[in-house]
């Protein structure tokens, strides 16, 4: 406990609290001097909460010490290139480390924590939906200043955004851990910025969660004005949390691109990079640029609320549809941010487990970039019913359908890779295959939403909910689990339990199919999204009950996974060598990975995925250790 209190995490959180109180106190003091009201429903007034939240986030960063080297640089003091970690065991992960492997694990743990919280919220409102009428989220109940249906709205909205943040952290976790290893780099290009990108996400997550206790909000994760312009103060905390967490995504992406451009091993030309690196680049290009638009759109609503600026207020001549354009310019490409690394994981692992070369490497590499680029010009397909100019509908319909081409390239390649392969199915491979099938379902349910004539009926129904859960599970959740099972031995030197892993898969996958197909089914029957209750006359009570049970089964499978994950760190079967018989460089050295990665640099001498070829050369060749050189 003592060691936790002295950790960077505890310091940061303490300073965040102090900073919040100071910032809020400052505004309250100014308001008192100006003769304005100083308290409100949630003690402080809204401007006080906003400035407090902002100062709190900054205080976290200074308090945790992640900025201390930069402060030294600003004063002209040099700091050493590489810090040795002074901590061991779990303490490494609650303190500031510049090691990309530690940061990758930090990201992953926070992502798992947020996935659990978001999943818990889902189970709460899924339980309420199990039958029509209000069960326990009734109008009589009161919690955190919200009645039942209001709480439902808050939980449903937070489920969305918490899962999004957890996905962003999850992909950052995998990318951070894996990309420098695949490139043969010692670390990321900017290790301090890397640590900063992780640590800034923590106060962001705290702010996001704090919205639950400050009146919540009822807009869904999209935060559309005019509703978001008059929701309780929790709305502001939500905006602020996303804004802060967005910086994590932007700066992390910047780091990835520079690392790939500058730190590749000798001989690793663009077309000999591991395929996952291409996916990381594509996803980073979107995150680097488009994220600013969601930050800006949320900022504009914040300012509209704080200062009465009439950006989106029709009464003042503003335009609410503008918000939707700005918002979706990020939030649609964002789904490609989520899925591209996942699809990269699939392409990366598939050849290992079918013992065949990856089919059409160049096409896969280019299709990642293609998805990223096309993703920038499809955003208005979320707005077919918004009242935007009608002539925009058809071009956006076609650009959306265009996404199917680069995605189809990937499917074609995966099928051709599996074709005639010697397939083995340890847990990571199960999740890879599961991801492919689930993502296919997501892809097939996509065109009805892209086509204007059908979307006008499907918009805002559970069909959409089913569709995007398919894409996100197939594109992120399954590959994420695959990656965790696959690289777990690399990080810990132990394997996760196979039996529990298979149980996890065989519990989650069927339950998930029931869940999403059920969602699409009731959506077609008229079930609306984001609503606490539905008409018993729709006749979908029994389906809803089944969906709720399926939801609980998925929850159970994740609990099994988390138990397996943490238990295997200590008690897993030892696995120090090349467990999967992979050609990739990180598996050619012992596990867990040494602190500064490779003792000897390697050179790329062949293609990355030439599995199962007779007389093939290895992918990389390590240089001989120089005799007498101290390691």
């Amino acid at each position: 406990m003592k060691r936790f209190i002295s950790s960077a995490l505890a310091h940061g959180l303490g300073w965040q609290l102090i900073g919040t109180l100071l910032g809020a106190g400052l505004i309250t003091g100014i308001r008192a001097l100006m003769g304005l009201s100083v308290t409100d429903r949630f003690f402080f007034t809204e401007p006080a909460w906003v400035l407090g939240g902002f100062i709190g986030a900054i205080s976290f960063l200074f308090g945790s010490g992640v900025t201390s080297d930069w402060m030294k640089w600003a004063r002209g003091i040099d700091t050493p290139e590489h810090h040795e970690d002074h901590h061991s065991g779990w303490e490494k992960y609650v303190n500031v480390s510049l090691d990309h492997k530690v940061i990758g694990i930090q990201y992953t743990i926070v992502a798992l924590a947020l996935i659990s919280i978001g999943g818990l919220f889902a189970l709460i409102f899924r339980t309420e939906l199990a039958a029509s009428q209000l069960q326990f989220l009734t109008t009589d109940m009161k919690l955190f200043g919200q009645n039942g249906p209001q709480l439902y709205n808050t939980l449903m909205s937070l489920h969305g955004m918490i899962m999004i943040v957890s996905i962003l952290l999850g992909i950052s976790g995998i990318i951070n851990y894996v990309v420098p290893l695949l490139l043969g780099a010692q670390d990321m290009a900017f290790p301090r910025l890397n640590a900063f990108s992780f640590w800034i996400a923590v106060p962001g997550a705290v702010l996001l969660l704090s919205s639950l206790f400050l009146g919540g909000f009822d807009t869904g994760w999209t935060g559309y004005p005019p509703l978001s312009a008059r929701a309780p103060v929790g709305m502001q905390m939500f905006f602020l949390g996303v804004f802060v967490a967005g910086w994590s995504s932007i700066l992390g992406a910047l780091n990835v691109i520079v690392t790939v451009l500058r730190m590749r091993a000798k001989g690793m030309t663009a077309m000999r990079m591991p395929i996952f690196v291409w996916a990381a680049i594509a996803t980073s290009l979107i995150a680097l640029t488009a994220t600013q638009f969601i930050g800006l759109s949320f900022q504009l609503v914040m300012f509209q609320r704080l200062f009465g600026m009439g950006f989106f207020d029709p009464a003042k001549g503003g335009n609410p549809v503008l918000f939707q354009h700005l918002f979706w310019f990020y939030s649609h490409p964002a789904v490609y941010v989520f899925i591209l690394p996942g699809l990269g994981v699939i392409s990366e692992l598939l050849p290992v487990f079918v013992r065949k070369p990856l089919f059409g490497y160049r096409w896969i590499a280019m299709s990642s970039l293609g998805i990223a680029l096309v993703g920038f010009v499809v955003w208005a397909h979320h707005m077919f019913t918004s009242g935007m100019n009608e002539y925009l509908r058809v071009p956006f319909m076609y650009s959306t359908l265009l996404v199917a081409i680069p995605t189809g390239v990937k499917f074609f390649s995966w099928v051709a890779t599996i074709w005639n392969g010697k397939i083995t199915t340890p847990t990571p491979m199960l999740f890879v295959l599961g991801g492919i099938v689930v993502f296919l379902m997501g892809g097939l349910s996509g065109p009805p939403n892209a086509i204007v004539s059908t979307d006008l009926h499907l918009h805002d129904t559970y069909f959409i909910v089913g569709h995007f859960h398919d894409t996100i599970f197939g594109g992120f959740v399954f590959p994420f689990f695959a990656a965790l099972y696959y690289w777990f031995p690399k990080a810990t030197g132990r394997r996760m339990n196979e039996t529990l892993g298979k149980l996890h898969f065989w519990l989650m996958t069927p339950a998930f199919f029931v869940l999403t197909f059920g969602m699409m089914y009731i959506g077609l029957l008229g079930m609306r999204r984001r609503i606490v209750d539905y008409d018993p006359a729709l006749g979908i009570d029994s389906t809803h009950l089944v969906l709720t049970i399926a939801g609980y089964l998925i929850g159970l499978s994740v609990v099994i996974f988390i138990y397996n994950f943490f238990n295997s760190i200590k008690n897993g079967e030892k696995a120090e060598g090349n467990v999967w018989n992979s050609r990739s460089p990180e598996w050619q050295v012992p596990s867990p990975m040494p602190v500064h990665n490779y003792d000897q640099p390697f050179e790329v001498i062949s293609e990355p995925y030439d599995y199962g070829l007779e007389g093939g050369s290895p992918y990389v060749k390590f240089s001989e250790p120089e005799s007498g050189k101290h390691q």
């Binding site: 290139e81 691109i257 994220t291 009465g308 600026m309 950006f311 503008l322």
Partner: protein
Amino acid sequence: MSHTQTKSAAYGQGVVVFIYLAVLTALEYFVAVTFNAVSILVVVAVIKAALVMYYFMHIYKLNEASDGDEHSYDYKTGTNRIGLWLFLLSDAFVFAGLLTARINLLGLTRPHLNQTLGLAVTAVLLISSFFMNRGETAMAHGDRKGFMNNTLITFVLGLGFLLGVVLVEWRLAAEEGLTASFGNPAVGPMGAVFYMMTGMHAFHVLTGLIFLLVVWNNARKGVYSEEKHWGVEAAAVYWHFVDLVWIFFYPALYLIGKLVN
């Protein structure tokens, strides 16, 4: 570090580029007050941006090979340069978003603003960019004193721009009825857009000024040399970026479209 230019040639180039930029700005203003053709204003802004990016921000340095030892200062500077430009690219999206909002909400109309003041602050920022370029050139040739003097001038001009916008222009805008009162932008989209665009830009000017102070102070301590002055280069490129944004914001707020209100 090898020089492709002597110091006086680099100074001379700065003067020529500055003259081009000044003439183009004057042209912009002339076009706006006479026949107000948006297309010409856009073209002029793009040319000005290209000049600033090439001659002041040295975008071509991204391409300069810095192979060799991965631990050398030059190699790391090459890496840092890519990082900085990616950051600017990301930041540019904020301003692009604001321009989108401006076009969506105001279309081909513009607020009633003080033209003289607008041209004056624009000129001040442009001149500050000229001195910033001179300062960086001085440091690249090992002239610490020259760097510090030029940076100080840049700082003073930058501060002048900031105060001109925030204290003078915002007050005048309030008097014009663009906002409810000074410091209270509670009105329609015209005031909202004006405050947001100038405010976001002013915030970047402020961070740029802090950055300038930091490198000036470090130069005073003798941290930088002819070979090693990445901090100076970064501060200069960031400062020019702030100018670059204004190259688009100035016509967007002051010049294009029909005057209303």
